[in-house]
Symmetry: D3
Subunit: 126 residues, 6 copies
């Protein structure tokens, strides 16, 4: 029996990421079911389910944070997709990357833009 | 004679940060006039003057990036102030910090919240 | 009504950090009650309450991670205290810092050692 | 004539990493023999040869530090192998990754888990 | 009509990086023409065009910074090439990497050396 | 009896940092004599004693790396002093900070410049 937080998180995850999100969860369940559960419950059931900011703004915050880290190309890819799913335009995602130049530097922003382009192209070719 | 980019950047800086921004520029001019010029021209004249995202969203991106870095408490303080100046509520700034927990960790978000509280209190006591 | 995870987390927090931990929670509740709740529920109720590793090993992992980040001096201070509370000796804490030199560099380890010394001295003078 | 520190370091390296460790040294000797020497002498002859913590605890510290960095996937892979060699179970390695979530974030821990899984599978298929 | 800063930057970029630099600009123009413009104008037209340090020293600073970041393998590759173009020897580049060990750690320096070797080999095989 | 590497390192440390360097070693010996020994032997006896780059270039590399880290203000302060001791001018140190803007971002460079200014002023007032 999954917790209410899990149910809420899974619903939010599917709303935001669709089958791609479910695939991430399935893959992580193979390695560590508890990690997968924390991801659904805490990240999606607690944090992304908060009121106060709309999903588009939340994805913009996540993209900015992950592009700044520079260590999470896989996750940037997922969140560029998610950002598009929740209503960001391609140009807005590019603007997020450009806005990180002053704080995170040109290399971080460039690597973010290269991943964004990859996602834009993949979605066009589907 | 200052460039057009400088004029545009200084106007944007004052619009966003008021006297606090001018004070930062004055302080940096003492150390390196060229750094101060790049800050005005590139960060404010080029990046913050871009169309495509409103100032509130730009400040949210900057806050997320700087809280994630964790190395810029001085700049987080300035940008919490700036975010309030351009229309963010205190609660929205807190939401930005909470939204960075999954990517940047609890310590980064906690340190961001502690600085935000400091700014909120300072503004109340003025 | 607090959740079971909160009850379990608070008990774990007090077991590990005593009044210092409660003070952190009280301070964060002033800024963001939800952050304080996530800290108790997720960090202490979920992660620190996991079986599989003893509390001493968990604190060693946390110290290594936070010394490597280099951005969380406040939290390193809390966790040096906590490590001592759950059975680490001062020498073991110093060994953790020395073991981070190859991966995190001399400056990170040195800053960790300086904080550890501060905590050791404070506890002696109480 | 190699120094005593080199002899001690090489013995420790082989004890911990076996042929994989020797291969890393051979590869680095091609690029910079001095780097290879520092790695053997300082990292293995000085740091990993210290008394005070057992090898298993040292590997746990290294894994926590490198997963937190997020910039060293190659080295995380080597050290997941080494951790298994010195007595960590797969489940304990997974616990290390989970314990880094609060400080290093979900993306760092997830990337650590993905590498751990890759190593676990490679060792099963040998 | 491109600005004077763009003209100066493009000339500096070609002086330093040749066709490889032009290829980077072309690629980034496809994703975000404004990013490409900032790269030419600000990074090459403003920063790399400054008097005060020779190009070799500037590339050494950039390599040290990017190896320390650890998040920019693509850019380290470009700048190892550029460093060789502006007069660094292979051995000097290796020395830069070794000099980052104390501050950035062995993993960062090792990853820098592995990329340097890759560039050295590619240039030999051309 | 101290090793040859220690003797060579201590001589190099004193050549570069004078009484300030000896004070750092004395302070670290109080916390962890082994850390102090590694610092003298490895950092100064091995790395800073290498031929191939002059001391001025080595300090420029260290400053770039530490400003990029952003987590070592204490060490940046020591190395700004050291850079001046080994022949860098104040303007050259400022140039190093400006050259890190593209890779490390404006906040990192600004924080480096603020520390540099502090050191310049202290040395003027002595």
């Amino acid at each position: 029996m999954k917790s209410d937080r899990y149910q809420r998180g899974l619903k939010k995850l599917i709303e935001m990421e669709g089958s791609m999100g479910k695939e991430v969860i399935r893959k992580m369940e193979e390695i560590s079911p508890d990690f997968a559960q924390y991801l659904v419950e805490f990240v999606f059931g607690d944090i992304y389910s908060r009121p106060g900011l709309d999903l588009k703004t939340k994805e913009i915050i996540t993209l900015s944070s992950m592009v700044t880290l520079g260590t999470a190309p896989l996750q940037v890819k997922v969140h560029v997709n998610t950002a598009l799913n929740v209503g960001c335009t391609e140009q807005e995602i590019i603007e997020v990357m450009l806005q990180t130049i002053p704080s995170a530097g040109f290399a971080a922003a460039m690597n973010g833009l290269l991943i964004a382009k990859e996602v834009f192209d993949e979605r066009k070719n589907k």
